[in-house]
């Protein structure tokens, strides 16, 4: 009896927490279908706010820019991060390895304002114009460490006797890399690309610091519109972005459930990562 009561209390609490987590999001989406201008009174259903997005050339351009930036920066970050992971894996000295990993994690734990402001100083010192280039370089830079952390465990899990066997069979370095190492670590690389992609899409603070007047991402645009008050176009936009995140999460879920054995490790690593 007592146990049963406990269950009910437990479920009520969980329902409450999930309501808190999701109500603000659904509140936004709900009012995206509102025909009057605010988020307080729902007059009647309309698609107009979505049509407005479609007609808003500037917003569409910014969306395209944001996605282009995310694709490009995560691709380059994945290449550099994977090479980094391969490099770290080949370092046999334990202390040097710990040192490199420590340096690797600096950008992961640094607050966004610190990354943003120090990159701003850096670009100014180098004389790099603020705009697409500086934003792209920043996004690559802050995405690299997460790629390393996604790829490195796959390398460590790899059975080294495969490499020895390949060597014995006369494979050269490049063939070993292409034929043995890369296929084994591909799930890690894909997961790293995914994370880098979402990091880039989600970033506001760093971009805000290093972007000039010429280049804007969705986050920066939403910020400047939100500072002016409520416009239901943003609501419609957030509904679309919510759907998109849903697709991303489901995609990521299917990639990461490849092998049940690695899931546990990944979970552990996620924990290490946010420490």
């Amino acid at each position: 009896m007592n146990n049963k009561k406990g269950h009910i209390g437990r479920n009520i609490y969980l329902v409450f927490v999930f309501l808190v987590l999701y109500l603000p999001i659904f509140y936004l989406i709900f009012y995206s279908f509102n025909s009057s201008g605010g988020m307080n009174h729902f007059s009647h259903f309309t698609w107009n706010n979505y049509k407005e997005i479609w007609a808003d050339q500037r917003l569409i351009l910014i969306t395209v820019q944001t996605f282009f930036l995310a694709f490009l920066s995560s691709l380059l970050a994945t290449i550099i991060g994977t090479s980094g992971a391969l490099g770290i894996y080949s370092v046999k000295n334990r202390q040097i390895r710990t040192l490199i990993l420590g340096l690797n994690n600096i950008l992961l734990v640094s607050p966004d304002v610190i990354i943003g402001s120090s990159f701003l100083i850096f670009f100014t010192v180098l004389g790099i114009n603020l705009g697409f280039t500086s934003v792209l370089l920043s996004h690559i830079a802050f995405s690299i460490p997460i790629v390393v952390l996604m790829v490195l465990p796959k390398l460590q899990e790899m059975n080294s006797s495969f490499i020895n066997a390949a060597q014995d069979l006369g494979a050269n370095q490049w063939e070993i890399l292409k034929g043995v190492i890369l296929p084994t670590i591909t799930p890690g690389i894909i997961a790293g690309y995914f994370m880098a992609f979402t990091y880039s899409l989600d970033d506001f603070a760093v971009t805000f610091f290093v972007t000039g007047n010429g280049f804007e991402t969705l986050s920066v645009e939403i910020y400047s519109r939100a500072r002016q008050g409520i416009s239901l176009e943003i609501n419609a936009l957030s509904a679309l972005m919510f759907l998109f995140s849903l697709v991303l999460v489901i995609g990521y879920y299917f990639i990461s459930r490849d092998s049940p054995k690695t899931n546990r490790r990944e979970k552990k690593m996620h924990q290490d990562l946010i420490r």
Partner: protein, 266 residues
Amino acid sequence: MKTRGLYFSSYVLWLIFFVLAPVALILYQSFIGINGHFTIDNYENFFKVSAYLQMTFNSVLYAALITLITLLVSYPTAYFLTKTKYKQLWLMLVILPTWINILLKAYAFIGIFSQSGPANNFLEWIGLGSHQLLFTNASFMLVAAYIQLPFMILPIFNAIDDLDESLINVSHDLGANGFQTFWNVTFPLTLNGIKSGVQVVFIPSLSLFMLTRLIGGNKVITLGTAIEENFLVTQDWGMGSTIGVILIVTMILIMFLTGEKKRRRR
């Protein structure tokens, strides 16, 4: 390993240019005064002007409160979640909101906390009357806690989930009641989860400048807002960097306090 150099060069360049150089530059810049000369004026200002110290103290206090609120909500949530069927699915649903842009979540609260928004409607409905909710420090803290909630639940969930069930059973068999078991077994063994949760919530809470701008009104109430103000509004990069260095020091202190001794082993 001849190819090592090849793999490594781009990564090492990144380490030098985007990790080491920016840290060095922000440290250097913090010693540059408004007139462009090398000086310790910025630090002197920071420790002499009471407004800076007050702001730093408040920022740490707000971050501590935000962390406390999220911790109090998260621990039971994580604990109950581990007891549910399909717990991995529920955990996914906890994490899902973190994939939604933080600015959209902040924007939602501009509507929720507005004069005739749902929060005020609720307050009127329970007879407390409507209040100015937006642009107050309390609303800033609530929204920050809302945004950070999943980041606190996740590590605690993992810690509880990794807990060896037999320890709980042993404790019960030895005659401990539910509370004793929780306090002497479950809680100490999940402390590491709490520590990492505190770390991932506390540090960003010091620096969320967009939230203080959008929800907390245009006041400078956190270290992050002060840095943004100095860099992008008043263009005093020296002072901004000094506050940045203070923020880094605070961050290192927190990581030191919440770090695990155990980790050395690896």
